[in-house]
C-alpha cells in the first residue's frame, strides 16, 4: 500500500522571485488544478442538495455542507434520518464513513504540522478526498512548504465554493421532478467513480463486495443497522484479505 507523505524539507527558492509572487502563483495553480475535479463532483453535490431540499429540516441538513464537508457521509446521514433511523445510528454511520479522514489528515502532518495553530485548524477543516489527492500530487513536484500550502489553499477555496454552490443549487432545484430524476441516475454513477479506485487496493475488492452483499442481505433490517454492519464487515473482511494470516501487507 502506498501512503502519500509530504516532504519535510524546504527547497531553496530561486532568489529572483519574490516569495509573495511565488505563493500567489501556487495559489492560482492549486485553484486551476481543482477546477476540473470540482466539475466532476457537481452532479453529486446537486443530488445531495436535492436530498437536503426534501428533508424535514432543510436548514439543519444544509448546514452540514460546511460542518461535515463530505458528500457521502452527509448524504448517508440525511437519508438515514429520513428513513427513520435513530440519530445515533445515522451519526455513527456518517462518522464511520468519515473515519478515513484520520488517514488522510495523517498524511498532512509534514505539510501542516509545523504551521501556526490557526493555519493548522483552518487547513484541517478542508481535508477531504480531492484536496488530499491534489496535495499528494503537488508534493511530488517539490517546492517549499509555503508554496505547497498556498497550492492547497487555492484548491480548497475552489472546491469549497463549487461544492457549496452545487449543494445549494440542488436544494433549490430539489422540488423539480425532472431534475431529481436525472440526478437520481447520476448519483450511483458518482458513487461508482468513488468506489472503483478503492477496489484496486489490497483487500479493496473484497471489502466492497462484502459491503454490497451485506447491504442487500440486510435490506429488511431496521433502518441504518444494515449499513453499519456493512461497514464493519467491509473493514474486517478487507483487512483480512489484505494482510490476514499468511499474507503480507
Amino acid at each position: 500500500m502506498t501512503t502519500v507523505t509530504m516532504p519535510t524539507n524546504d527547497a531553496v527558492p530561486p532568489a529572483q522571485v519574490a516569495p509573495d509572487t511565488r505563493a500567489r502563483g501556487a495559489f492560482a495553480s492549486g485553484a486551476r488544478a481543482m477546477t476540473p475535479v470540482t466539475f466532476g463532483y457537481l452532479p453529486f453535490g446537486l443530488l445531495l442538495g436535492a436530498a437536503i431540499g426534501r428533508s424535514t429540516e432543510p436548514w439543519a441538513a444544509w448546514s452540514g455542507t460546511e460542518l461535515m464537508y463530505g458528500g457521502s457521509a452527509h448524504l448517508t446521514l440525511i437519508e438515514m434520518l429520513r428513513t427513520g433511523s435513530g440519530w445515533w445510528a445515522a451519526v455513527g454511520a456518517a462518522l464511520l464513513i468519515n473515519a478515513r479522514l484520520l488517514v488522510y489528515s495523517s498524511a498532512f502532518i509534514p505539510l501542516w504540522g509545523p504551521a501556526r495553530g490557526p493555519a493548522r485548524l483552518l487547513g484541517a477543516a478542508v481535508v477531504v478526498d480531492p484536496t488530499w489527492m491534489l496535495a499528494g500530487r503537488r508534493s511530488e513536484q517539490g517546492g517549499t512548504l509555503a508554496q505547497q500550502r498556498a497550492h492547497f489553499a487555492g484548491a480548497a477555496v475552489v472546491l469549497t465554493a463549487g461544492w457549496t454552490v452545487a449543494v445549494t443549487a440542488g436544494a433549490l432545484l430539489g422540488s423539480v421532478t425532472a431534475a431529481t430524476g436525472a440526478l437520481a441516475i447520476a448519483v450511483p454513477l458518482c458513487l461508482v467513480a468513488i468506489v472503483m479506485p478503492h477496489m484496486k487496493l489490497p483487500g479493496g475488492f473484497v471489502a466492497v463486495v462484502v459491503a454490497v452483499g451485506v447491504t442487500v442481505a440486510t435490506a429488511s433490517w431496521p433502518p441504518g443497522s444494515g449499513m453499519l454492519l456493512a461497514m464493519v464487515s467491509a473493514a474486517a473482511c478487507g483487512a483480512l484479505a489484505c494482510c490476514g494470516p499468511g499474507r503480507s501487507a
Partner: protein
C-alpha cells in the same frame, strides 16, 4: 412502532440539528487530531487499511441503497405512517412505489 420511534428520538428538526452538529464535530476531530497531535498519533498500516475499508464499505452500501431506492432499503417502508403520505419527503422518484 415507527411512530413511537420518531417520538422517542424527539422532534425531527431538533434531531437533524443534533445529528449534523455531532457528525460535523466528529468529522472535524478526525481531521484535526493528527495535525494537533503530530507524530504522537501514528496510525499503523493495518489501522489505516481498516479505516479505509470501513469508509469505502459505507459508500458501497450507499451505492446499493441508491440503486435499490432508499424507500425500500434500510428497513421496510412504514405501513401506517403517522403523517400524511404526501407530506413525506422522497428523494428517489418512485421509491415509495417499489
Amino acid at each position: 412502532m415507527w411512530c413511537a420511534r420518531v417520538l422517542w428520538t424527539g422532534s425531527i428538526s431538533v434531531t437533524t440539528w443534533i445529528a449534523v452538529l455531532v457528525a460535523g464535530l466528529g468529522s472535524y476531530a478526525f481531521r484535526v487530531a493528527p495535525l494537533l497531535l503530530g507524530n504522537r498519533l501514528r496510525l499503523r498500516e493495518r489501522t489505516q487499511d481498516i479505516l479505509r475499508h470501513a469508509g469505502m464499505g459505507g459508500i458501497a452500501a450507499l451505492l446499493v441503497s441508491s440503486i435499490l431506492g432508499f424507500g425500500s432499503t434500510g428497513g421496510p417502508a412504514p405501513s401506517r405512517p403517522c403523517w400524511p403520505r404526501w407530506s413525506q419527503p422522497q428523494l428517489w422518484p418512485g421509491a415509495a412505489d417499489r
